[in-house]
Structures are given as C-alpha cells and as structure tokens.
C-alpha cells in the first residue's frame, strides 16, 4: 500500500477525473445556493429598497423566530406532516399487502393503485380545488348544504391533508411492497406451522424483517411532507392561516421580494429537514434497503 504502481496511480487519477464533473455540478447546484442563502439571510436585502442593503447579523432570525405567522406555518406544517405520514403508513401497508398478494390481474391492480402518484400534483390539486368549490364541484356540498370548506381553516387543512394522502399513499405502498418482497416465504410458512395467527405473523415476522424498508419509507415521506407546497399553493394559496413553511418562504421571497427574510426561512427549513433526517438515521437507524444489516452507519 505504501508505493502505488504507476498504473494504479493513473487509474486513481482517472477515477477522480471521472467523478469531477459530478462533484462540480453538485457543488454548483447544491452547495453554492445553500451557502448563498445563508449569506443572504444575514442581510437586510429587500429588492424593493436596493439602496438599503446592509449586513444585520442574526437580526432576520430574531424577526422570523419571533413572528406569529412563522410559528403558525410551522404548526400547520408539523400537523400536515404527522397526520399524513401516519395515515399513509397504515393505508400504504394495506395497499402493499393487497398488491403483494393479488393473484388475478396483478399488473392491473398495481397500475391502478399507482395512478394518483403518476398524476402531476398541481393538476391533481386543481381538480381537488374545483371539486370542493361550490357550483363547480361535486364534493363541496357533501358535508354541509351550503358550505365552502376551502374558505375556512379547518376545512382547508382537512382537504389539503386528504389531497396529500391521496397523492402519496401509492408511493408509500410501493416502498413497503419492496420491503414485503424481502420477507422470506419459508419464514412465514414456518411461523404458521408453529401455529402463529395472521396477526402474529404480521407483527412478529413481517414487520421486523421489513423494518429497514418501513423506516426508509417514513424518512422519505416525512421529508417530503415537511416541504409540502403545491397542494397548498393551488388549494388555498395560504389563505386562512393554511401556509406551510415552504409556502410562507415563497411568499416572502418571491411575492414579498424580501431576500433577507425569505432566505432566513429557507435556511430554517433546511435545518429542520436536516434535523429530521438526523433523527431518522442516527436514532432509528434508518438505512437504505439492502445496506449493512446493523442499520447504523
């Protein structure tokens, strides 16, 4: 190992060269914008007042973190994240079991189950919006005779959550189905020989084997749900206190043109996502399916 041969060294250099474009692209499209938004978040920088740009340290963080709108949005985001992920896990598991066990028309069943995930979110969100709008929609008067659920907070949040669940349950199911495929058939047969009921087989055999797949599915969905934007943008545009953190960051950056405050929010979202990923990876030991058995890396 001390003295690499000329060929080995050439090979290693070639390796670096081949990686370089990817590494450069990653730095250009990921690291640079993140660092730039951190830099922006430390300034008073409002496109509307270009002459008053100045370095303000952590003032923007104080402004955002002491603001009621931000915490309302944070609460809405957490609510949507927790509720959708839990319901999607349950529904997705059911769907995965059905898709896994289907004997007749397996392809059709799987395709049908995946349709919602294949539809562009914005398009689906528009159809939800029309469906819940009085006069144009078939769902608006479902619960109350002359209700307009999208004009009030609870109704809007419920509709956003339903739209999210409808859209991403198939994705959850897909990941869980990959996990189900990991469960050895012999293990299940052995368990039933030992007299285990279906529920015991599910909880004691299938779930432990599927754990890595479940954790990955939960991690992906939690991160995804935390960044919820398009459904809210189309359904309510954040009216009636239904903004998520992404929505409020968009409003401050692109509508308010306040690069300082907007970037501060983006950085905070980035940190929150990093914390979620950290919790999943370090505490729950999430790893990609098929990675090392001990999970923790």
């Amino acid at each position: 190992m001390t003295q690499l041969s000329e060929g080995k060294r050439q090979e290693r250099r070639l390796g670096w060269l081949l990686c370089a474009p990817a590494a450069i692209v990653m730095v250009a499209v990921t690291a640079y914008p993140i660092l730039y938004s951190v830099w922006l978040s430390l300034q008073r920088f409002d496109l509307k007042f270009p002459d008053e740009r100045e370095f303000v340290g952590l003032e923007n963080y104080v402004t955002v973190l002491s603001n009621g709108y931000w915490w309302t949005a944070f609460g809405v985001t957490m609510l949507i994240t927790v509720v959708t992920v839990v319901i999607e896990l349950v529904l997705g598991m059911g769907l995965a079991l059905i898709m896994h066990r289907t004997l007749v028309g397996r392809g059709i069943v799987r395709t049908a189950a995946l349709i919602p995930y294949g539809i562009v979110t914005v398009v689906a969100a528009f159809s939800w919006r029309y469906a819940w709008t009085p006069d144009t929609g078939y769902l608006a008067n479902l619960l109350t005779p002359d209700g307009a659920p999208l004009t009030e907070r609870a109704g809007s949040l419920a509709i956003i959550i339903v739209a999210e669940i409808w859209k991403t349950t198939p994705f959850m199911a897909l990941l869980l189905m990959a996990g189900l495929a990991l469960v050895p058939e012999e293990l299940l047969r052995a368990a039933s020989m030992d007299g285990a009921t279906w529920w015991q087989r599910f909880t004691n055999v299938m779930l432990p084997v599927m754990k890595p797949a479940i954790l990955v599915a939960l991690l992906f969905r939690t991160l995804d749900a935390f960044r919820v934007f398009d459904n809210i943008y189309v359904l309510t545009a954040g009216a009636n206190e239904t903004s998520s953190v992404s929505m409020i960051a968009y409003n401050n950056l692109l509508r308010g043109l306040n690069l300082g405050i907007g970037s501060t929010m983006s950085v905070l979202i980035f940190l929150a996502v990093a914390v979620i990923a950290f919790i999943f990876v370090k505490l729950f030991g999430t790893a990609a399916p098929g990675a090392s058995d001990d999970g923790r890396r």
């Binding site: 496109l47 509307k48 401050n252 308010g256 043109l257 306040n258 405050i261």
Partner: protein, 420 residues
C-alpha cells in the same frame, strides 16, 4: 504537452456547458425594426390599439403584445422575476397602480422626463397621476383607472344615501319592513378589503402613511374609519357572506335580489343588464357614500400604468410606444370597447362615451378628488398585513387594531415584515 492540453480541454468542456444553454436564450435581434415587447394583462381589444400605434410608428418600431397571466399576483411575479434578472427583452410594462412605487423603488423602471413626461402630465387626472409618481418623480403613464360607485335600487330607496351612517339607517329601516335591505360589498381577506378601508380613511380625512411614505401614522381619521368599518360589519345590514365576498360573488349576490345597495366597480352595470334585466331597470348609481355629511367621499382608484423597463434596449422607442398606447384616442377606444375608464379628463367629453358610460359624470366626479392606496415600494406587504389585520371587520377594536396596524406596517416599511 499532455497536461496543458488536458486542462484546456477541460476548460473548453466547462465553457461549453455554460454557454450552450445561454446562447439558446439570446436575443433575436436582427438589426432591423426594433421590437417593443409590451407586457400587459389580457385585454380583449388591446391588439387593435397596438395595430393603430404600429401603423402610426411607420416602421420606426413594432409593438408586440405579450399577454401576461390573468391573475394579478401571477402577472407581478412574472415581471418581478424577469426584471430582477435584468431581462432586456421586456420594454413596456403594464403595471397595476399599486406596483408602480415598488418597481420604481427597485430601479426596475425608468423615470419619465422632458417632453415625454410633459405629455403625460397634460390633462391627466390628478389621482391616476399621483399613483404613477414616486418621490416626486414620474415613473409611469396612467393608462386607465377605475373607481367604485354606489348602486341602489330605486324601488326600495327613493334617495341615495350620502353617508355611510345614512346608508346603514336606510338598510335597517328596510330590514324592519321586511324588504330587501342588504348592503353588498367586498369584505373577504384580500385587496378588496384594503380598498374599502382605504376609501373610508381618505373620506374621513385620515392617513395611513406619512406624506413621504416612510412612517406608518394611522391618525385619528384612520381610527374613525376602523370604527365605521366595525359598525358597518356589525349593524346587521351586510349579507351573510360579507366576510368572504370578492367582486364577482358580490355582483351575483346583488343580482340575486337581496340587496338594496351595492358598492362595486362600474362593470357590474353592463353585467347586470345582460343577466338580470328586470332588476337592472330599477338600479341607479350615485357617488360612493362619505363619512361626514358635508365632505364628499374620496374613493380609492384602481387601474393600470404604463412604465418603461430599466433594461430595455430601445428606451426612446419604448417611451414613444407607451405614449401612443395611452393617448386620448386610444383611451377612448379602450373605454368604449373594453370598459376601462380613461385617465385623460377630456376623453369623458366625447359623445360616444355617454352611451358606453351612462354613469360617466359620477365616475369623473369621483376621479377628480380620488384617493390612492398607500404610496410605498412596500405596498404589497402593507396590503397583505392590512387585509389580515382587518379581517373579519366585525372583530375590529378601533384603537387596538390601529396600534397593531401601525406596528405591522412600520415593520413592512423596514423590511422586517413577515408575510403570512
């Protein structure tokens, strides 16, 4: 020899990676007639006006109509994004009156000077002109304007009320007689509510911002307006959907027959004649009610202004094109065919106007001492916090709400405002 060659190759590859996509969006400048890209919201007969101007330009430039999205927010976001990126393919911009200060403050539009400015100032109504001014400089040419009127039913109301208090009393009397009584207007949490409040503040002689636009004042007049708005919302004379009503739902509700009064833009009149002709026969218009009996109302104007982008490659032609697009002849055409009230006072005297605008005298009267919304580059933020704080109007506590507004608006002016 090998090393530098490799490095050069790498640099070339990197350069290609960057320039190829850029070249694809380069200008289509062929050195011939300058193309003036006119970005404006969709307007039905705009192309005819543009054709007229192109004919008049006689080959010096050619205006091309670039239609913006229908929603005001989408229009603004598209223009803002491209101007922030110093896009030089935008020349003349059709701006909502409330965006002019913002674009001027951000140095995205050019000041109108010399003969161009003189032509715009000549004969233009003061309110629209004020909306196009930022820090005492002219930054746009008012293209069209608009004011709300009081619509009332002659079968219920013999004499139109002159003040809000009179209107509320009349509505309450009608209600006690079991007849249609509602005062229908826009009270949802959006710009319409800000317009309503701004009109009340101006009519009460109050101010939201200081004259230089740098401080939130919310003086006594502004507090009186809050008090009136609350009284109106809680007097039992509004429609049940008042706190949720936008322009068009309000119009439809009035057409439904429950309203005795409607405060709305002039477009409701032709719409009503087409959709509810029986009702329309009994509907008349009057000046928007005031706050005091002896002081006429000062109504908030809407409308659009034409500005020239700071990044245009053809400033001279752009100013000329904008002047043509909004000249008296073209404003008259737009007023008659698209229903948008002119900003040049003399156009109202044209005989054809009487047919298109039976209410033109009242419109002109209101326009002559109209009010504008707070003139500040931060208007978008101010409007957002105002609509959030004023909604629902029934929950207003005049002094407390004024204090809250003062703080939030001041924060918006200092770029500390957080938009919900």
């Amino acid at each position: 020899m090998g090393e530098p060659l490799k490095r050069r190759w790498r640099r070339l590859a990197a350069a290609a990676l960057v320039t190829v996509p850029l070249a694809a969006c380069g200008g289509q400048d062929d050195g011939g007639t300058p193309t003036i890209n006119f970005y404006n919201p969709p307007v039905e007969n705009m192309q005819t006006v543009i054709d007229t101007c192109n004919a008049a330009a006689n080959g010096r430039y050619e205006i091309v109509y670039r239609v913006l999205p229908r929603g005001a927010d989408d229009q603004r976001v598209q223009m803002v994004r491209r101007l922030a990126a110093e896009d030089d393919s935008m020349d003349v911009l059709g701006l909502d009156v409330t965006w002019t200060q913002e674009f001027a403050g951000a140095n995205w539009i050019r000041e109108w000077t010399g003969a161009d400015a003189a032509e715009v100032r000549d004969g233009t109504l003061p309110g629209p002109l004020e909306s196009a001014t930022y820090e005492d400089k002219l930054y746009a040419a008012p293209n069209n304007t608009n004011v709300q009127l009081l619509w009332y039913r002659t079968d219920l109301v013999p004499n139109p009320p002159r003040t809000w208090d009179e209107m509320i009393t009349q509505a309450q009397q009608l209600r006690s007689q079991g007849r249609p009584y509602q005062v229908i207007t826009m009270g949802a949490q959006y710009e319409g509510l800000v317009v309503l409040y701004n009109t009340l503040v101006a009519s009460a002689g109050g101010n939201i911002l200081s004259a230089d636009g740098r401080t939130a004042v919310l003086d006594d007049g502004a507090v009186r307006a809050l008090d009136l708005l609350k009284r109106f919302a809680t007097a039992g004379v509004t429609s049940p959907s008042f706190t949720n009503a936008l322009e068009d739902p309000a119009r439809l509700e009035f057409q439904g027959g429950n309203g005795a009064f409607q405060l709305n833009w002039p477009y409701v009149y032709p719409a009503m004649q087409a959709a509810a002709p029986d009702l329309a026969r009994n509907v008349r218009w009057a000046r928007y009610p005031g706050v005091d009996a002896n002081t006429p109302s000062r109504v908030t104007i809407g409308g659009t202004n034409l500005a020239v982008s700071a990044y245009t490659r053809y400033p001279v032609e752009s100013f000329e094109a904008a002047r043509c697009l909004r000249n008296a002849e073209n404003q008259k055409y737009a007023a008659i065919n698209d229903g948008v009230p002119p900003t040049i006072e003399s156009v109202y005297d044209a005989p054809e106007m009487a047919e298109a605008y039976p209410m033109k005298d009242v419109i002109l009267e209101e326009l002559q001492d109209a009010s504008v919304r707070p003139l500040s580059p931060a208007y978008q933020n101010i409007s957002t916090v105002m609509s959030a704080t004023l909604s629902p109007p029934g929950d207003i506590d005049p002094d407390e709400t004024a204090e809250l507004l003062r703080k939030q608006i001041q924060d918006a002016l200092e770029s500390k405002g957080v938009l919900p």
